[in-house]
């Protein structure tokens, strides 16, 4: 019987590893990631379920799944030319296969991914938080970039199905969920900042969405986080769906006080109970 023991959420800007390399530990993201890293270490997970939006790196528009599960013994990355170290990371193939089978049985049409690498959206968080790369991961991909997107409610239900599958797994594994994504970010679209290639169009939505999580108001969050609303906060802001899926795994527990950077569109969250 597997057990979900904690949940986490972080952003994943691809520029940060290089910036931190230059600037050192005085860079402001260092303590933010460190705080989550400590919580991950304290939770002692055997496996990290990583909810992720691929950035056209693992998948392209030729064959683009809505949801996919990585089922393999290991993966590597980043595969998108992000300037940072290249890592190999183990994947828990047996639990991954069980999560996928259970999900398909529960009516989630989860693509099977067996031969793949992952991009900065997984590797940047691991680089800062688990650089030893000793905790096996299971990447669960959600299409957050190419409408039609899955609804917030469906992503939450997927998380719930994954939790049930963890609990029906034969081995007594400690499993934590990790969401990776921004709440407000525009890349290359009309809402970029003047003179920039990106922008943070909607800091108020960052506070709103994080506030609903902070208050445990999940139903309200699922109502408000429509595709339309998320895309008003920026064209890659539906990365929030990774957090919503992780919340499905976590259930109605409340997070520790969240670290909010509304001006950067970013949030760091820790759910711990065990």
């Amino acid at each position: 019987m597997g057990e979900v023991v904690a949940g986490f959420g972080v952003p994943h800007s691809p520029h940060i590893p290089e910036q931190v390399k230059k600037q050192g530990p005085s860079h402001p993201v260092v303590p933010r990631y460190a705080r989550v890293a400590e919580a991950i270490a304290a939770a002692r997970p055997d496996v990290l379920l990583v909810f992720d939006c691929d950035h056209f790196s693992t998948f392209f528009l030729d064959n683009l799944p809505i949801f996919a599960v990585g089922v393999a013994d290991r993966t590597a990355g980043p595969n998108d030319r992000t300037p940072m170290p290249r890592y190999e990371v183990p994947v828990h193939a047996a639990l991954a296969a069980h999560l996928r089978s259970s999900g398909v049985e529960a009516g989630f049409d989860l693509a099977l991914l067996q031969d793949f690498e992952v991009d900065h959206s997984i590797m940047v968080p691991l680089h800062f938080m688990t650089p030893g790369m000793t905790i096996p991961i299971i990447p669960i991909f959600i299409n957050c970039f190419v409408p039609p997107l899955p609804s917030a409610r469906r992503c939450y239900a997927l998380g719930q199905a994954m939790r049930a599958a963890v609990e029906s797994f034969a081995q007594p594994l400690r499993v934590a969920a990790l969401a990776s994504g921004s709440f407000s970010l525009e890349i290359g679209g009309p809402k970029v900042a003047p003179g920039r290639r990106q922008g943070v169009p909607d800091p108020a939505w960052v506070e709103r969405a994080a506030g609903l999580m902070q208050g445990g108001k999940i139903e309200q969050l699922l109502d408000e986080a429509t595709t339309e609303r998320m895309l008003r906060a920026g064209n890659v802001s539906a990365e929030l769906l990774t957090w919503i899926a992780a919340l499905g795994v976590i259930g109605d527990r409340l997070p520790e006080p969240m670290q909010l950077q509304p001006a950067e569109g970013e949030v760091y969250g820790i759910w711990r109970w065990n």
Partner: protein, 92 residues
């Protein structure tokens, strides 16, 4: 399929270093291998990223062109142009 071809072209600019160099050196020749309409070709060569966005090229992929300053798209030029595009998801 043309929009798919445009998206693919943007992606190749990130992913394929030889293609990226060809795009910098001689964009007209570099894009000849893609199945594009004449209008799409002109829009590309003009660096009209607002129009490319409006016909459906994904902005994340489109931004690869300015990352390597293809078609004269410095960050400033790119930003100025894309900010004028019609946005189906306007900020509140």
């Amino acid at each position: 399929m043309s929009v798919y071809q445009l998206n693919k072209l943007c992606h190749r600019t990130l992913d394929d270093l030889e293609f990226r160099e060809a795009m910098k050196r001689d964009p007209q020749a570099a894009i000849a291998g893609f199945d594009l309409t004449a209008a799409e070709r002109d829009t590309l060569l003009a660096g009209d990223v607002a129009r490319l966005f409006e016909i459906g090229v994904h902005p994340f992929l489109l931004s690869f062109l300015t990352r390597y300053e293809i078609f004269g798209l410095t960050t400033e030029v790119y930003s100025e142009r894309i900010r004028k595009a019609r946005d189906p998801h306007r900020s509140a």
